[in-house]
Symmetry: C2
Subunit: 104 residues, 2 copies
């Protein structure tokens, strides 16, 4: 598995449209066979900060995601909503093992 944590800071007045666009992208992304999970969380003490937790089966699946129409639509929709450039970190799974990452 390849796990990517994307950290996002959104402009204060764009939180609601960011959530709307990002939910749409998450739902479509979960339909990709190479994606086991696509979660979005909002920081409690700084609600303009979000993390997208993306769990890909392989590195190729992460590349394929960036070629989808829903990713392009999200990227364009949120471009003006960012308060700062996005940053991301890549991780390997320690636990669970490969069978434990799929959403129910």
């Amino acid at each position: 598995m390849l796990i990517v944590h994307v950290s996002v800071q959104v402009k204060e007045d764009r939180v609601a449209p960011f959530i709307e666009a990002t939910k749409k992208n998450a739902t479509a992304s979960r339909g990709e066979p190479g994606i086991a999970r696509f979660d979005v969380v909002q920081q409690l003490d700084e609600p303009t900060r979000f993390v997208l937790v993306e769990v890909y089966r392989t590195a190729e699946d992460a590349a394929k995601h960036k070629e989808t129409a829903h990713y392009a639509a999200w990227r364009d929709a949120v471009a003006d909503m960012m308060a700062a450039p996005r940053s991301s970190k890549k991780f390997a799974a320690v636990t669970p093992d490969a069978t434990g990452w799929d959403s129910p």
Copy 2:
């Protein structure tokens, strides 16, 4: 849901025992009814850095976790393995909704 990301930096020569102790804690934690997920990931470009991604149903469930024997055993086992103090951030779920967080 209450999602907690715990960032950990481990001493270079303690990565293997940290993984062993943390897997044991993750497995036991998943048995708590208040825990939907307990994932551990290792940063690809800095393998001494880990994130524990803990998904609790409620804030009380997070407090209860800290009262368990497996948490105490983990905390004591890893105390000498840390290269820096742990830090954590708390998040609310944006997506999936409450039914989508359980592990399979």
